[in-house]
Assembly symmetry: C2
Homo-oligomer: 234 residues x 2
DNA sequence: TTTTTGTTATTTGTATGATAAATACTATAT
DNA sequence: ATATAGTATTTATCATACAAATAACAAAAA
């Protein structure tokens, strides 16, 4: 119940349904959604923790400026991508991946355990299978990228799995749409080979080139304006 | 009140006071800390959102394995660094900075507005002043690094300000302690110059070299074992 | 007129008690 | 030994009351 309310309120905030100070009071929310005050308060509390709301006595609940939203929170990012998609957002996200994932790949080359390595390879195989029409390409691509994060052995990078997975679900759909592009198997295999060989520099460079490619696609979409984005938002 | 309880519980969890399934029930917590059940529930809810706890009927509240904690949450990271400091953690954090900050510097070189540029320069000047004994070196260093994140114009990087600031407060203190090291002004000026010149590659490389230096210090501390870390934990 | 001060009303914060829902544990029957 | 039904424990939700903070307003003073 709290979860549902959290979801509803989160989406509503992102969609901009409450501009500025017009956010309803606890009482209004409870009545509108038919929830008790406890549930309402706990949902608001969570959105406060995510930087989207702030509550003060007498003033009531107010929406926080977008700069303060915790974009690194998978919930927030998902709401943004689903209800407020823009190529600009996707570009910003890809810019961050461009910082993180090559570094992660380089680390993985140094630290990957045999099991972790095997998991990356498995992701690659799933991608190849999907290429032949056998399996979900999107899921395969995600598993490959997540496996590399896990292989770093660094808890900070490992934490990013859900975030990357969430965003890839939307962003890959977008980049595929732009040019009928599908993630390049050889480029991904190149990353895997470098990691297996323990070659940090090459692993980082290979991952960098994958993301540079993605970035080019996103930038192209950005230039085409928002009409296509709106159509794709389904 | 909720904040205080959140703080107490968060620190207690990090310190490992509740191993495994021994976490108290809502009722126990309320009694122990003298808080009402509403307050207790809201605090637990927040720790759940941070991945540190999970609550299920009949089973009660349980601590989650450390892999699931949201290390990117400034609260969690602060608790970790304050109550569970280790050079390994610091090394992992620095590994992430090594991915993020050079990329941020490169972006800043492309996007920094005149005001943002001025803010970076201000940070640099504060560092120089601190070097001459005039002002807080730690605060100056933080302001420099945060200013670069802000200058990227990318909300994802900009979000990291609190995280980086939190961690720098502890990590700089540590790295200084290792060798009486203080952050190198020329190296930082090099980054600034490259950003001002709009030279992405050089900005990234310069930032990279700063962090590589930090990494070397941390790695050295790591080798010295945990005794020094424990002393430094004050 | 402007500023200060005090009052009031609104909204969140906290406390308490009661009921519902989920589920680990136990006893029983097969 | 296994399956089934019942029981007890704990969180989840609801409802209500009161406390605390404060924005808005009014009155008084400068």
């Amino acid at each position: 119940m709290t979860e549902q309310l959290l979801e509803s309120l989160g989406q509503a905030v992102v969609a901009g349904e409450f501009d500025g100070r017009s956010f309803p009071t606890e009482a209004d929310i409870s009545q509108h959604y038919g929830t008790s005050r406890s549930v309402t308060r706990e949902a608001v509390k969570m959105l406060t923790a995510k930087g989207m709301l702030a509550a003060r006595p007498r003033s009531g609940i107010t929406t926080q400026p977008q700069e303060q939203w915790s974009l690194l929170d998978p919930d927030v990012l998902r709401w943004m991508l689903e209800r407020k998609f823009s190529y600009e957002l996707l570009r910003h996200f890809t810019e961050m991946r461009l910082g993180l994932e090559p570094a992660a790949a380089a680390l993985a080359a140094k630290n990957a355990s045999p099991e972790a390595l095997r998991t990356i390879e498995l992701g690659l195989e799933r991608m190849a299978a999907a290429e032949r029409g056998d399996g979900d390409h999107l899921a395969a691509d995600i598993s490959f990228h997540v496996a590399i994060l896990k292989a770093t052995g660094n808890p900070f990078y490992m934490q990013l799995d859900e975030l990357i997975a969430t965003a890839l679900k939307i962003s890959i759909r977008m980049t595929n749409r732009i040019k009928g592009h599908t993630a390049s198997i050889p480029a991904h295999r190149h990353v895997f080979d470098a990691i297996r060989a323990g070659d940090s520099a090459r692993a980082g460079a290979a991952m960098n080139s994958i993301l540079t490619e993605v970035m080019a696609l996103v930038a192209a979409g950005d230039k085409n304006g928002t009409r296509r984005a709106k159509r794709a938002r389904v």
